[in-house]
Symmetry: C2
Subunit: 180 residues, 2 copies
């Protein structure tokens, strides 16, 4: 199990065990989840064997911008506020995530530093999937593993399109504001 590595970064949270008892609740949330919306209850049950559940009190930081991190969070209860530092190093609120949504997929995948911080806005319950657990799923449950990877690819592709379109828009706006 990958609990050891996760526990180093999540040791300030209350560990509630593996995610098996939460599979039903997770399944009721997935229609709000860009990552898991196409998973059925049997797939969520199977995946829950590979996830651990933690509780965080309001105000607790779950992931920190710039930290290394190799896990993602699926929000089961509560909301998580996402902050990114602006160029004056002040945290700027860029999103509020609800149950069913996920946090930190990119660092789970590539192990690069967290792009933003996530702070519990309420008392939160989250299910954690580590890169090590994902690797185990791919080996032990290859069909489920391929499905998770395919959904990750689709989600990243969607986000990349949105972000690229926004970037093109800002480049245009910046150019025209400098030409005026």
């Amino acid at each position: 199990m990958s609990e050891t590595a996760v526990n180093v970064q999540l040791q300030h949270l209350e560990y509630l065990g593996d995610a098996k008892p939460y599979a039903g609740q997770m399944h009721t949330l997935i229609e709000r989840s860009p990552l898991f919306e196409n998973f059925n209850l049997a797939e969520i049950r199977l995946m829950s064997h590979f996830m651990q559940v933690f509780r965080a009190e309001p105000g607790i930081e779950l992931v920190r911008e710039g930290d290394a991190g190799d896990f993602m969070l699926f929000i089961i209860e509560g909301r998580i506020e996402i902050f990114k530092q602006d160029r004056w190093n002040s945290p700027r609120l860029i999103a509020v995530l609800d149950p069913g949504q996920t946090v930190g997929e990119m660092s789970m995948i590539d192990g690069e530093p967290r792009f933003a911080s996530g702070v519990a806005a309420d008392r939160c319950i989250v299910a954690v999937l580590t890169r090590e657990s994902l690797a185990r799923i791919i080996l032990e449950q290859p069909v489920l593993g391929a499905k998770i990877l395919m959904e990750l690819v689709l989600m990243l592709s969607r986000r990349l399109r949105q972000t690229s379109a926004k970037l093109v828009g800002y480049m245009d706006k910046y150019e025209s504001s400098n030409n005026n």
Copy 2:
């Protein structure tokens, strides 16, 4: 085979058969390939069974911005220029891709319209991978399929980080230029 669907969009190119005879040449190029750099010759050989090869004369458009498309291209020979329309609908050169690099992964994955156009700068030889072929790889060669998906996830994640960082930079620049 998915040749039919591909041929509709690539029928203006010369079809050279499947990619098996090109596996060795493709393998010599992969160190320049963000997508396939971690693939060994055996894996490239296996994958080449699922790819078709086409030749394009200079100036020929291989993918067109806004078109639907469910395939990607691996450049074996020649360079491809990538153009994106600016807000005056003029094509703006945004990249030049070399042998070993890939074009059109996002549309292969999600079937959404092409983000940009790709035009042969020289006489090009390209290997095509369709979504249907990728699905067959996942079913028939699950280990190879998981590896391709994992590399796609890593590549998209890297690009999303770069694009997001650029976006944050432009948002800052735009704000400060408007505050001055």
